[in-house]
Symmetry: C2
Subunit: 373 residues, 2 copies
């Protein structure tokens, strides 16, 4: 690897690049011959940025910030109009080709073997041949997404939705219009474009969109400057906030605590901004309370019935090697997962995966036995 050239591309000195290795930058060993990844943001370089052996740099996908008061944030943030897209609920991937091989990078900058196989079956082969510099940013969603399984999208397995385009060795992305034009050209699915609104009218229009999306179990919206001059913002539906709480309270002793408060606080601000009536607030409080209490009760009762508290997901692969490599990938990400025997199917294998939820499982058993909190 030509370190001088890489440092130049990153906009830092070669010495600084050298210092970062072993602290912020770590080596990812799979697939051979490996590559370097930024574990944290530093010197303005996003976490998840990857540097390949051939010296090519793929920047991390920037974090999208979240306002809690939609109207105030839109007025403050956007100069003119606001383009609105659906926020997809799955995992963020960047698809690209390295030395002629398609790879899918996760948000954190690992190559995910499963996402890579899924991408190679979905993308037209010529896409990176024509544009080897291309980086397709999008979301993998569906019931066979092993990170975030969701059956709210029109797929029985897993699908890819494009929402941005980037180039290797360059910061920044191409913006809404170029992304959708590109997707049309290559027949790719995109995060739905929901309209472009004058900034004054946008909050009311987006409110209506968010309410409708929520009813369909969808997550929310991403708001972008149509000219791509500034960073996008995100905003989620009440149902998505409550659904997050449901998952969290099913596994109450395993999930990060700050997860809860942020979801709840979103509900408070949405209710204030939308100037809800006492009756509407009562309905919102009931939904909030139920999404916390009922999954928690369900977990306790499952344990009372001697069930193990686990999370079950599944994937479908063409090659058994993909499953083996995915198992290794989860392991290196610190995710415990037990893979069932593959079930052969027409064009590959179905593999059920069990994620033990150790802490909640053990704590619930102990509390049921009369132990103290």
């Amino acid at each position: 690897m030509n370190l001088q050239k890489v440092a130049e591309r990153l906009g830092i000195t070669e010495e600084r690049l050298h210092c970062l290795q072993g602290t912020i930058i770590s080596k990812s060993n799979w697939p051979e011959p490996g590559f370097l990844r930024f574990e944290k943001e530093t010197s303005g370089i996003e976490a998840g940025t990857a540097i390949f052996k051939n010296g090519e740099v793929v920047y991390g996908y920037p974090k999208i910030r979240r306002p809690l008061m939609l109207g105030a944030a839109i007025r403050k943030h956007f100069p003119d109009t606001v383009a609105v897209e659906e926020k997809m609920n799955g995992h963020n991937v960047r698809l690209l080709s390295i030395d002629g091989e398609l790879v899918a990078l996760t948000r954190g900058g690992f190559i995910c073997p499963y996402s890579t196989e899924v991408a190679s079956s979905l993308l037209p082969a010529e896409i990176f041949e024509e544009s080897p510099q291309l980086v397709l940013c999008g979301e993998m969603v569906g019931p066979e997404n092993p990170y975030v399984p969701k059956d709210i999208y029109p797929t029985d397995s897993i699908d890819f939705y494009l929402f941005d385009i980037a180039q290797k060795n360059r910061r920044g992305t191409s913006g809404v219009h170029k992304t959708h034009a590109f997707a049309r050209e290559f027949g790719l699915k995109t995060a739905t474009f929901l309209g472009e609104f004058d900034k004054e009218k946008a909050p009311e229009r987006i409110k209506k969109i968010v309410i409708k999306l929520g009813r369909r179990g969808r997550e929310g919206v991403v708001m972008k400057d149509p000219e791509n001059r500034l960073a996008p913002l995100k905003y989620t539906c009440s149902e998505a906030n409550c659904n997050d709480l449901s998952v969290a309270f099913s596994y109450y002793n395993d999930y990060a605590l700050d997860f809860f408060v942020s979801r709840v606080v979103r509900e408070g601000f949405q209710s204030v901004e939308w100037m809800e009536s006492a009756e509407e607030r009562k309905a919102r409080a009931l939904c909030l309370g139920e999404s916390i209490l009922l999954p928690l009760i369900d977990t306790i009762q499952r344990k009372q019935r001697k069930e193990n508290i686990v999370q079950r997901v599944q994937i479908r692969v063409r090659r058994l090697s993909t499953a083996r490599e995915f198992e290794y990938h989860l392991h290196r990400c610190g995710i415990r997962a037990i893979f069932d025997q593959p079930v052969p199917e027409d064009d590959g294998y179905l593999i059920r995966i069990t994620k033990p939820i150790m802490s909640t499982n053990d704590k619930t058993q102990a509390l049921l036995d009369g132990e103290m909190w």
Copy 2:
């Protein structure tokens, strides 16, 4: 101070005592001539243990543990019967006399000037003259409790309820029956004795007590072995859990996050243990949701109306020096508080105190202005 004697009383070596000074043991400077306090539990010595200049040791009040499944815990923990007392909602103090002067030690082992003045006006003068070794353990409660103001008790100001008796230089306490007998002799109020129950019947009886206490806004129960052979347990009403959440979400950016989860998990276990119907669970979920959402909305709306997010409490003192010393005491405990000008009254002064809730105040303003979470 005779360090050898103190070490002997604590059951540790003089060398160990020496090592602990400056790490676990720190000096409390008020009132003169100061004393030593254990900031953390160590070598089986409770946090809050105090060592006075004359060598007298006052052990910290032991932490009371909390089961979430009442029935299982009672069956496991208690050998025969269970004595039940009301759990008071205020702050824990230990009252004692040092060199003829009455002092009130907080849970953490500070002398609280305000609690000390309150105690000296409530206790009969002869109580420590007759028994200088006595340590009275109890709760200060009422609307003029500046730590936990509550108007659910029969006092307009602040009152002391005895719940245990200890001796200087000795671990352990005297137990339920001796405590109540002592209180009768000296005309002291006690945490209400709610009965002694066979361990098999106790869970059902305590459930009924907890429901009744909850309706009256009270906190819950402490369960003790009548023979005082083992540590007591505590259990709280649903209303108290929800009330805690209300306070926490009024000041959502200032309170510890883990506060939230523990209260919610208590609700889940209580609902399971009491085998509630779907309708009862819905009602509980509504209460839970409302106690989270409504105070949060109230805080946001107060900030929208340009109010400062603060907590207001008040105290009533006989001497102005008590207020000044209490101001110093809060400061050394890391509690920010602004004291109003004292308002003279018949036999002392009323002083209103404002506790700024800085983080929630500033965060709410920023979010209302369209800043990101």
